[in-house]
Symmetry: C3
Subunit: 212 residues, 3 copies
Amino acid sequence: MSIDPLGAAYLVAITAEAMTAALAAGRRRLDWFGVAVLGCVTALGGGSLRDVLLGHYPLSWVRRPEYLLLTVGAALATIALARAMPRLRTAFLVLDALGLAVFTIIGCRVALALGHGTTIVLVSGLVTGCAGGVLRDLLCGEVPLLLRRELYATVSLLAGGLYLLGRALGLQETALTLATMAAGLALRLLALHREWHVPTFAYGGGKDDAAP
Amino acid sequence: MSIDPLGAAYLVAITAEAMTAALAAGRRRLDWFGVAVLGCVTALGGGSLRDVLLGHYPLSWVRRPEYLLLTVGAALATIALARAMPRLRTAFLVLDALGLAVFTIIGCRVALALGHGTTIVLVSGLVTGCAGGVLRDLLCGEVPLLLRRELYATVSLLAGGLYLLGRALGLQETALTLATMAAGLALRLLALHREWHVPTFAYGGGKDDAAP
Amino acid sequence: MSIDPLGAAYLVAITAEAMTAALAAGRRRLDWFGVAVLGCVTALGGGSLRDVLLGHYPLSWVRRPEYLLLTVGAALATIALARAMPRLRTAFLVLDALGLAVFTIIGCRVALALGHGTTIVLVSGLVTGCAGGVLRDLLCGEVPLLLRRELYATVSLLAGGLYLLGRALGLQETALTLATMAAGLALRLLALHREWHVPTFAYGGGKDDAAP
């Protein structure tokens, strides 16, 4: 029997995402309701956007509302635990990196199950892995971090590519999932540690967003 | 025969929402087109987001485009009526509170009709009642008011809970709907009058939104 | 046989939209990944939002991922071509105007094929033509240009109306499409040249977005 290591990792990842989002809410002095919303949206928004774009209904948290309750609970618990959070910084960076890999693999699997080709499978992994943070930043009134710096989306694309390559080579699913999670986690932590960035593009011409 | 008091209240509510959204547009000096868009999105956006998340097609304004025309008309009429609006402040606060209760009940009913359980029914009411204002604030480039202060979402959750409780007790639908509308309206106005707020969460640690 | 002039024009238009979006990304110093995302979202976001609102699955770029690759490629190529872009300003204004007309006609056709009436057909054209730019501005943390000034949405509505009128008169489809494209293009360029604007609405009363 093939045991799926993704299930437990997914629960850990959405909990961690909801907690770091709660801190982002606290930095903007949102109220407790805002903390809960930002926690849910960040943890479950990527998968939800993927499902809406692919027409994949019902959304995961609609089918399993306990995911919603878990993220709301984690976000609200963070208010009580706020004082301890700075000491847990490293742990949460690792959990966030794990979440990126886990979400990416889940996104790839959903698209594969729907019969999509390589491009859409990679995009599905990317949206699942990254769109939650984009929605968080938009709700906070900021230009999404994802579009500005850091090797985050690239890690998602590489992890997705690795996963697809392993499938093409006929690797056993559980082993491949574990290997992809490990590789995604390592790559993300390496990018953080080495401060690898995607190059930026600075353009000074024109003033109008609808023209050069 | 059971007469549904929601139908008329819904039309009043989307008209009022479109008009207050038009004033929000006027505060940011949007053009007439922006006024119309902000009116539609605020009045119909909550229900639309609910329908997209639940895969409930067609959206209400697609099935009944007269809703769209009504909100556009109300938003544009507000430009002509702008001078009279400050005197109508109390009336509009009442209509907005009514709208919150009406939208919440409609959202609950839609989710119930789709066979969802308690959590999703309450979330459906909440999204229907509150997401229009969130979309309005996002289009205006601001952190949504809903996430920052005031007892707005909580009123929606309480009204939804009351409605579900009444159904579980087997109350007659029309009476229950009227009672829920009255309770939601009263609670929202009381919250406004007493300046009840959800507590805020202030967190000063770290600087990175993706980490503690 | 009826040749559809829209197909080629659509490819040119999404390429041009992705390139001007890439420059908007460069003005905000986004990284290369952000450039690619902003290019895709601007070029394909209008059609995607239309499809999600109308429940029209699969989305065009999911069915034809080469659209996605084309817009990503165009956005990234813009980084290399940035120095030449200011000299191409007029060309891109024309291409953007062409895109507005092309997207509008495509949006109208999709809604017609789904059996919708006049209002929804015009809204479908409007969303397809304009929502990409709104999403671009939201991701850039700005109040959408569309809501603030310029005759852009109005051109889309007029082009859509013209297209519907031509169909009602029984005009031949290819001729009607070409005529609508030409009229939309001319109207948009005229509006740019004469600096036609939609009037703005300025409201000074109240301070609360949820009340007058």
